[in-house]
């Protein structure tokens, strides 16, 4: 029997491998030989994802990290649908990091839905086929005579029925179906996909029992703080470690000699304090005196960056991102031109749970409990830094108190491992809020000088952007790029996007909807300016620009490494624009004084979003966003409508909060802001009503963690313009400019 299983296993694996060309590693269909092992009496394992117990309860592994997008619920829904089991009979377990079994485990890029929609349904369908095969064997009939109802196989001709629990043991010995050809249910018959499904951990969350990274406890554990140089990548020259080691509760304190390249995201230098409680470690840190060497970056400041940008605007750009036609000529010949400079600042991620990680190092084996979005990167970094094989690093995926891209970078993981090793005991490393805010990988700031040319009919015929961004040695910094297909490229005959770089050692990285979260503000605000200059309604102006339906190449891959390319479908965008306009009563409302509506649309992470904001600006200049209408197209199914609406509402309010309250500034090479008093989060009293509608279109479903955010910012800025006549060209919004 074992032989047969292994044979089946190999065959399935080969087929899977051929199917995906190694891009998506599906360790999916390994019917577990472990049926014969410890759990054999009570459970049979169909494959790495699904376990069915004799009582018919299916346990489904949640493969990806959960950072708040509801993935722990949503991915198992895909399997359960095709397995054909009642959701109440499903239990969900969080998987550990295990690339061999689960392939890529990453929470980022709104990829969970597009990457798993097909493969995970096939996992469920394969398991169902194996259950059907088991029943057919029992009944001595052909599998084609059998069908399933939730949790059971039925033989219609004879009226016989057998529950999955009774069949699981035999099913595990059945050949594994070819995943590519396994029959999938007709989508119209879905019982789970499309039903609002409460997140699996809701009970644990409302009772305080949910374990986050910060809550991990392992036997013999001590607590650590890690004091880093205020200037990223700086090194300690001397520190009063003797004095610190005598502080109450302190177990060990030492200097960590790390990299000076903070933007790389590895282990940097600092002083570790390990104590018998986190508070005592933190209290000891108050007495820590360190002389730091900040290196060249200590000369950085926000004022210097702004001066650099002004200087670079006066010179030819250094790189061409896109060039169509003859922009200079077209601008010179335009009936009207509009010029504007736009700016957005660095901002932080500010996950509410500060960065933390728990590590235990025994010999050359490392065990990690990490609230991480990308465990594989942590494993690679720890192995490299500690000089051990990756196979020696075990990572348990612990729920994250927010991610937003911050936890794609593994610096807290390598710090915890290094400190635990040096302290010779398990350690929970926890950053203070100040650590978290001052040692982030920031959404990069950016400067844009835009010129647009309109023809006599008010059509946009020329567009020029000189983008001053950040980088090092001629290389653009992480998340600081501009896409060659950035809208409205390909819709404007003469288009030139170019860039220049400011040398910068401040770490940057992906923040929810990387790039788009800033670029949408710039381009969609400028579209509004152009519409006004053309004497057109901004909604109509954008619709006219999209004009007849067509597909425009974006140059991006559908999934990392895949040959399948993403196109921008102008019809899908026009449709959400129309929907948002009709939902909001665009152009039909009579609004009070200093109240206005703004519209914006944006395509990112495969999602089409159009948003209309209604904003009232008080006499003192405070904008109050009263309502936002969101029309979205993310394909033909909204897998879990409960989390989907929550994500969209949260993304919109998050975007508005960043535009109102957030800015990281640099002085003497370090971050000025230290807590929520100077880099605040939006609060309930400033959160608008957000109405959401999904257009169901004939496309495979795509993700929702990010694409609702980018258009929210230009929508409110355009509404502020409608309310006050003042154009917001710099973030965060300066309310002093909006006073009556």
């Amino acid at each position: 029997m074992i032989d047969m299983l292994e044979q089946a296993d190999r065959r399935a694996f080969l087929k899977i491998g051929a199917a995906v060309g190694g891009g998506l590693m599906l360790g999916l269909m390994r019917p577990s030989v472990a049926v014969a092992g410890a759990t054999a009496e009570t459970a049979a394992e169909l494959n790495g994802y699904v376990r069915i117990a004799p009582d018919g309860i299916a346990t489904i592994m949640a493969k990806n990290p959960e950072i708040g997008q509801g993935i722990k619920t949503m991915l198992p829904m895909l399997i359960a649908e095709e397995l054909d089991i009642a959701w109440k009979d499903v239990r969900i377990e969080q998987a550990d990091a295990d690339a061999r079994r689960f392939g890529q485990q990453i929470a980022g890029g709104s990829y969970a839905t597009p990457l798993h929609w097909d493969p995970l349904r096939r996992v469920g369908a394969a398991a169902r086929q194996m259950l059907i095969a088991a029943a057919a064997q029992r009944w001595q009939c052909h599998p084609a005579e059998c069908a399933t109802e939730p949790g059971m196989v039925v033989h219609a001709a004879s009226g016989r029925k057998l529950g999955y629990g009774a069949l699981a043991g035999i099913a595990a010995t059945m050949p594994v179906p070819d995943l590519n050809n396994v029959p999938l249910k007709p989508e119209a018959g879905y019982r789970i996909i499309g039903k609002p499904t409460p997140q699996v951990d809701i009970d644990a969350i409302v009772t305080g029992k949910m374990q986050f990274g910060i809550d991990v406890e392992v036997p013999g554990m001590a607590y650590a703080v890690f004091a880093k140089c205020p200037v990223p990548g700086g090194k300690p020259v001397r520190a009063n470690l003797d004095e610190i080691s005598r502080e109450k509760g302190v177990i060990a304190t030492f200097v960590v000699d790390g990299s000076t390249d903070a933007p790389a995201g590895g282990l940097v230098s600092g002083v570790a304090i390990v104590a018998d409680s986190w508070w005592r470690a933190e209290k000891a840190r108050d007495k820590l005196r360190v002389e730091w060497d900040g290196g060249a970056i200590a000369a950085h400041s926000s004022a210097h960056f702004a001066a650099e940008a002004a200087r670079l605007f006066g010179q030819p750009a250094t790189a061409v991102i896109r060039k169509d036609g003859e922009v200079a000529k077209a601008l010179a010949g335009a009936a009207r031109t509009v010029e504007a400079d736009y700016f957005y600042p660095f901002i932080g991620h500010a996950t509410l749970e500060p960065q933390n990680c728990t590590a235990s190092v025994i010999g050359d084996k490392v065990e990690i409990w990490a609230p991480t979005q990308a465990p594989a990167r942590g494993i690679a970094l720890i192995a490299e830094t500690l000089g051990i094989p990756e196979a020696n690093v075990t990572v348990h995926l612990i729920r994250c108190g927010g991610g937003f891209g911050r936890r794609l970078i593994a610096d807290p993981m390598v710090e915890a491992a290094y400190i635990a090793k040096k302290a010779s005991r398990p350690v929970k490393l926890l950053w203070s809020r100040k650590d978290d805010m001052q040692h982030d990988f920031y959404r990069p700031a950016g400067f844009h000088r835009l010129k647009g040319g309109l023809d006599a009919s008010g059509r946009l015929v020329a567009l020029h952007d000189h983008f001053v961004t950040f980088g090092k040695d001629g290389k653009v910094a992480r998340s600081a790029d501009l896409s060659a297909s950035e809208f409205p490229a390909q819709l404007v005959p003469h288009c030139l996007y170019e860039s220049s770089l400011i040398e910068c050692g401040i770490p940057t990285g992906p923040l929810r909807a990387p790039g788009s979260n800033a670029i949408a503000f710039v381009f969609q605000s400028f579209m509004d300016e152009l519409a006004h200059a053309a004497g057109k309604d901004p909604y109509q102006f954008q619709l006219d620009m999209l004009s007849e339906p067509r597909l425009l190449p974006t140059g991006r891959s559908l999934r990392p490494g895949s040959a399948e390319k993403v196109s921008f479908d102008t019809r899908r965008m026009a449709d959400v624009l129309r929907k948002a306009a009709s939902m909001s009563g665009w152009g039909k409302r009579r609004l009070p004084k200093r109240t206005g509506m703004g519209i914006a649309c944006y395509f990112s992470h495969l999602g089409y979003f159009a948003e209309v904001a209604l904003v009232a600006v008080s006499k003192d200049g405070t904008p109050s966003v009263e309502q936002v209408w969101v029309a979205a197209d993310v394909g033909r199914h909204i897998i879990n409508p409960s989390m989907a609406v929550n994500q969209v509402q949260g993304s919109v309010i998050d975007g508005i909060g960043s535009a109102l309250f957030q800015q990281i500034t640099i002085e003497k090479g370090g971050v000025v802001q230290a807590n929520f008093n100077d880099h605040d989060l939006i609060r309930i009293d400033r959160a608008p009503i957000v109405e959401v509608e999904f257009l169901k279109t004939d496309f495979p479903p795509t993700g929702l963690g990010e694409p609702a955010l980018p258009p929210a910012i230009p929508a409110i800025c355009n509404a502020i313009h409608a309310a006050t006549g003042k154009r917001i060209r710099s973030l965060p919004i300066d309310i002093a400019l909006l006073r009556a």
Binding site: G68, P198, I214, L352, G402, R433, D654, L681
Partner: protein, 161 residues
């Protein structure tokens, strides 16, 4: 400054040998293992650490344990002992409020305190009672809906009971 601090936590009286300046948050989390109460800012700015001290919503991260000696402390782990707290939890589940969930213990404690003093809160009541509780995931639409729903559930319970 270590001494014995006596306080009642979720109805159980504890005698703790800790520094009196240790914030209540860290006493709960690291001395008593009650980790439902969260650390967000350590400065009274986010509300993640909200507990009830003698019924009043309190930021445990800036409350030295010595200052609450002899008080009754209630945390998320004990909020179900309170009928209003139970109703708030039920509403939170019905509306499926959380995203990451990290702020929600503090939100539930703040909402319970609000509904105890103001059983039928207006939007303005909700704004002023809840503005100290940040939600990085911005689940505010559902927090507002759940507070209103909890108010409604409590009224139904009163009529039924």
């Amino acid at each position: 400054m270590a001494g014995t601090v006596t306080l009642s936590i979720n109805g159980l009286v504890s005698h703790l040998e800790v520094e009196e300046d240790m914030p209540l948050l860290w006493v709960l989390r690291d001395e008593l293992g009650l980790r439902g109460t969260k650390f967000g800012c350590g400065a009274g700015l986010c509300g993640a650490c909200t507990v009830h001290v003698d019924g009043a919503p309190t930021r445990s991260c800036i409350t030295p344990v010595g200052a609450v000696a002899g008080s009754k402390v209630r945390t998320i782990e004990g909020v179900a002992a309170d009928p209003v707290g139970r109703t708030v939890q039920a509403a939170w589940k019905e509306i499926d409020v959380p995203q990451c969930g990290y702020c929600q213990a503090g939100q539930i404690m703040a909402a319970t305190a609000l509904l105890t003093s103001t059983p039928v809160p207006t939007d303005a009541d909700i704004d002023s009672a809840m503005a100290g509780n940040a939600c990085r995931c911005a689940t505010y639409s559902r927090i507002r809906a759940a507070i209103k729903r909890a108010g409604g559930l409590a009224a139904e319970n009163r009529r039924a009971g």
